[in-house]
Symmetry: C2
Subunit: 149 residues, 2 copies
Amino acid sequence: MSTKLGLSQLKAWSSLLVGHARIFQKIEREFDAEKGVVPFHWYDVLFILNQQKEKQMRLSELAETIVTSKSALTRSIDKMEEAGLVKKVQCAEDKRGQYAVMTAKGHAALKVSWPHYRTAIYNHFGKYLTGTEARELERLLTKVSGPQK
Amino acid sequence: MSTKLGLSQLKAWSSLLVGHARIFQKIEREFDAEKGVVPFHWYDVLFILNQQKEKQMRLSELAETIVTSKSALTRSIDKMEEAGLVKKVQCAEDKRGQYAVMTAKGHAALKVSWPHYRTAIYNHFGKYLTGTEARELERLLTKVSGPQK
DNA sequence: CAAGATTGAACTGTCAATCTTT
DNA sequence: AAAGATTGACAGTTCAATCTTG
């Protein structure tokens, strides 16, 4: 396997590191004291669950989707369950499995949080891109994250 | 302040989240058992120090450069000092300040680690991009991370 | 034995408080 | 009072070990 890492690729890599860190630093800074706005990781979970019919998903599948580890997800989901935003339900077909199911309170939290995130994403990310640039950035980031699995 | 976050911008945002997470997951996975290869954050520190004349930098400046908090950096640098890769030296002009200075062992660790990172960055990132695409990705990520400060 | 999920122990990062120097 | 840096307490993450079911 070759290792021809060119200078332009290395600079692109560096811009990914720094750009991602900067943007996140700014966005997370905004929501420290907000009321009813859930933390980013929770938002991610609720966002994905909301896309599913039945508003539920298997834990292992959810972990893959939001790109985290099974153990980290178990702990997040337990916290979210304490907060009443999801509940865990045993799988009927496969007794090893668990579903995370979004509750009404979870759906409400998603709705309350979204305008805040939308504004932050716009102010610290979206407003710097034209539509064409946004589509090109998406294309390149998708390409570069490689084949699934 | 407006909140016109378009769909293309939102999709670009999502690709940044997922892309970054996927690529990092793969690269970090590769170095669990490697010998003499320092963790990513340490590599970052050594890389930056190596660019400086005198191979040293003030802690607060270093924290800004690698986009992390002062307290997190203090803890990293202390660990790196334990491992002998840097040492801390009090600033002569400003007695509040500390320099992180790369040691010979630190420089050796940088040299040992680099080929591993170069290969990983190539395999999980660089190889998916042509030179033109890499330059365009860098341009967009730099633009989108906004004005400094 | 493998897959889904959980847990304990150790580690790392974060926030606010603190200390020293400017 | 503000800046550079550190620290204690705490929350979140990771790794390997474990348990249950397939």
